[in-house]
Symmetry: C3
Subunit: 447 residues, 3 copies
């Protein structure tokens, strides 16, 4: 539960808001690289934290993120000509490069033009992990984009996409840190005796453990980029089934199901407005290329990859009540909604365009949510006092994994993580990988 | 004509408004029973006077009207599981019964749960006349739902539906009290010599009387539930053609055409927002089941029953200008719009989303409208001074009829009504029925 | 560049705004005559500078522009009966003539009606040039509608239509005074070596001159109705290619391409709201009827006549990004948008719903725009000080033409215009025509 003031602070990211200022200290994804694939291709409209911008790739392959308004007479450069290393306004031919510099003003005599001092706002841009990242803040960008492992593996080892979420970023993000809800939201209907959920993806055994222990115990490990969450559930005998998740400032996370040897998944939230956000969503395998089957699955919708249209809007969305099927809900699945990420979206969006945190009743399994809020609110408030955040200075600290693990009941959290990842905080360094758990034999029926 | 302040008072019914407070002293229909027919069926979204609620029928057939937001993390219970005598949130399994009581919180240890004190707001609900009624006010509900005769007859004697009106409740309601407009709105085009209106339903004789006397004289009879209006027009010879209408607080009415022995009709207005309302609309016959022909007619659109889609939105509506046919208007009907209730809706909705009563010019035939406003504004203002309304304490006072009657010109209003209904105020008690007018022979061409 | 206050002043025309007051001193087109062609036909909804009105043609052919709300109970007269020299409300039969006078109140006894004093607001209306003009101001209308030449020629000599522009009137109008943009916006793609633009209409030679001289010199000639703009570009040898345009208060203009003997074009802007306007668009030939080919071309979309649907909304519009074709833009045309007026609309609408003139960088070729703003802002401010505008008193001053002309480089602006039009200000009087330039031989490939 937050005060109304803290709820405002957490959720508003427009220019000049405290959280907007805070987000603007970080490199953030603003598009998929493939959305602006072709040099001299059409510019792409991009709205980031309420700033309406244009993204374009120039003749030499450089990407520019600029204010899309010609300073001459205000025409929208979206309709401009992307040609010869610049974006040209079609009204009177003014032309700007990826840095916002004005290259030509052909309706103005050369002598006059020399004394004009026009340019358009442009933000630093980098490409990493098949995403275009931008820095929208003051004073030049931090050292480098956060080194998420998805961007470090060879391109064939990853699949990167995005999906629209029709609600405020923070409540959608909180769902990622709440691993307790898997015991409900993604389960089969209670009447289903089998633990196989035909609409979700997990093997029968893990589903049984989650179903049977809806009160996981939460543990935390703080690190330079944020913290790692471990939630343990009773498994067979005295064993514990651990599911871990990363929180990396300001809005990156990784998913909890991956067993040793399986493909990892993560996501990064970027506000569009305060009522909509993009979730950049990716899978990567550190040790091998993704298989054609995997890629086909991800494209068709699987796990955190929704079934989407060409506009990256999930086909099952707020506007159609996620095509909820009440018969399915009664007899087959807990929700009647097809798809894990669609189930997550249903919950997050159902909390309202901006979730009112003054009226909630938090419980022990909301520990991840509580810690996330405390940290990011603290950081944003500190920035208002002049204290710059440290995490943007440590891009390497973002190379982390999370996932599932089985351990005897007396192995504590940090030790379990050390066994699983070779590092208590899930770092994916070469040293860590040398001591990490070996791949597990594939469970029957798992892709 | 009202002051701007009184117009606001009359039309605003959201929580905390004076008229909203006043309406909340009454049981009001909030759904048709058949919209939540099946036990454990899907919950129904219901908005009543700007309160967004959920209606559901539990395993044992009880109906609950609750705030649809889980108090744990704010998820929308619309997506919940209606099972085993409660509505369960799919996020973490919290479950609530029809009274809003929290039955289970499975992600919380039992010991902790004992000390939690969570519930959701729930309103008292009753079913009557194939409608679900709710009491949204303070201090426990009044004795019983208003005993409209439609709810007292056997189910086979009635047909109950609803229709959306895309304007404020009050102006739509006022149309029901203005029986003068039948001389125009529902008439054939002036060029039509016959008095048969192919698009309305009344026999030729009555149409002629209404057409030829557009200045009916209004009379009133006050009673415990409101008042009865009688409007007389010159008929053949020295006779008067009486049409009577009930006003019952706060927003019920009955229609003026029914002759002795015919089926009665009535309607109840319930605000959704200040810009939309439901009109619960019903026909009932006190002495016999409705015929298959009658029911088929009502379903297809007839009189006060519009032609509607599965969402209860009239097919001819504001969005399509009621499919007005200007050729029809020129040569066949007064409006060019098909259907009596569609013609009424066209006028009410054309007055604006909220009709501005500061700019009107009232006439003698608006007497019913004027009396309605005076009474309900007086009652709402009195409530603000602490005077509770009396009508909710007299549910039996709502068992009333209205309709048409022929009487010699020297029979005064109350006596005419006494002859017609056995009671000057249209009460439908057994005693009254014993002395009421006998059924009239069916007019040719009447259903 | 304007101050924020002047930008507001320029763009807001609702009732009570300074520019709204100023526009209301002029006769303005409010519909095409053919939109209310038939006597006793359906009334037409018309919104002019935020006033929602009804236009109808009565039995005798007179046109009325009235407030469309019945003063009795506020019903919308749009649904009324247009019959027998008046518009009759279908609720209770009140009837009003084209002057707003109430003719009948049939639900009111004759004696009472004598003492009622009801009417609806009605504005003076005239038809001229196949358009319905209205005067929405105070104190009776000025002498006559502005005598645009399109209205003085025989009907067969003209084609008149209108098109919706989805932005504020002023920025759209400014585009008409900025003849410099033809060197860019309407050109072939730079890669096209030929100067024939398959999507625009001008002969190859003129296109080359415009393409090769993107810095035309602007000249002005002030007259009683506003001013004439001449912009000269270098042509072959020492010649100048002149393009001239009229600005006539408050919002009329004529186009710059017409060579002697060709058909003239002009347009008149009328605000609907501050975010939308109509552009009444017309072509006329003073000396001969338009050919069937010309009319067919104008109906299908050509030059300033867009391809439109039955609602006068351009088919290529803001909602579909003008069907921009990026391949076309790369290889064939400067914009990838088909149609001259569609290209203009794209730019104007891309400036925003209301263009923010506080953030622009004006250049020498924006001289027409600057002069327009200075004059109309000055006039509107003067009116607020009590100085009535003079132009409405001189309807004959509006009979003007503009167009293209070739002249040796040492012929000054006024002399070039005198040669071209027989009058330095483009007046189309008989005297002027006697000395105007003779028709030029049709350029190959011109319609």
């Amino acid at each position: 539960m937050l005060s109304a003031a803290d709820n405002e602070l957490l959720t508003r990211t427009g220019p000049g808001t405290p959280m907007g200022d805070y987000f603007r200290r970080y490199w953030l994804p603003v598009a998929l690289s493939r959305e602006v694939a072709a040099p001299d291709g059409p510019p792409l409209r991009v709205t980031v934290m309420q700033e309406r911008l244009l993204l374009f790739r120039d003749t030499r392959g450089r990407v520019g993120l600029v204010e899309g308004r010609c300073p001459h007479r205000g025409a929208d450069l979206f309709f401009g000509r992307n040609e010869d290393c610049g974006l040209r306004c079609v009204y009177h031919g003014w032309k700007f490069d990826v840095d916002g510099k004005c290259l030509e003003t052909p309706n103005v005599p050369a002598k006059t033009a020399e004394h004009m001092n026009v340019s358009i706002k442009a933000y630093p841009v980098q490409e990493f992990g098949d995403m275009v990242w931008a820095y929208l803040g003051p004073d030049g960008p931090p050292a480098g984009v956060p080194e998420l492992e998805v961007g470090l593996v060879p391109p064939a080892h990853r699949y990167v996409t995005k999906k629209l979420q029709q609600c405020n970023w923070a409540q959608s993000f909180e769902g990622a840190l709440d691993t307790a809800h898997f015991s409900f939201l993604h389960m089969p209907a209670p009447s289903v005796k089998s633990n196989v959920n035909p609409l979700a993806q997990a093997d029968e055994k893990r589903l049984a453990w989650m179903r049977n222990d809806p009160q996981p115990r939460f543990h935390f490990f703080d690190h330079e980029a944020g913290f790692m969450i471990g939630a343990s559930r009773k498994a067979d005998g005295n064993d514990l089934y651990w599911r871990s998740t990363q929180y990396m400032l300001p809005s990156h996370s990784t998913t909890p199901s991956t067993l040793p040897g399986e493909t990892y998944f993560g996501y990064s939230w970027v506000p569009i407005t305060d009522h909509e956000c993009w979730i950049y969503t990716y899978g990567w395998n550190p040790v091998r290329p993704l298989t054609d089957e995997e890629v086909a699955k991800f494209k068709a919708g699987w796990g955190q990859m929704p079934e989407i249209g060409p506009d990256f809007v999930p086909l099952r969305n707020r506007g159609n009540d996620y095509l909820i099927d009440r018969e399915d809900q009664k007899y087959r699945t807990f929700t009647g909604v097809r798809g894990v990420t669609e189930q997550d979206a249903m919950i997050s969006e159902s909390q309202g365009l901006i979730y009112d945190r003054t009226r909630e009743t938090l419980t022990a399994t909301d520990a991840g949510v509580v810690r996330f809020r405390r940290i990011i609110l603290g950081e944003a408030k500190a920035l208002q006092q002049g204290h710059e955040p440290a995490a943007p200075q440590h891009p390497q600290a973002y190379t982390r994994r999370s996932g599932g693990y089985m351990a005897p009941g007396d192995v504590p959290f940090e030790e379990a993580m050390r066994q699983r990842f070779g590092d208590a905080g899930g770092r994916a360094t070469p040293e860590a990988q040398a001591t990490a758990a070996a791949p597990m034999p594939a469970a029957p029926g798992r892709a």
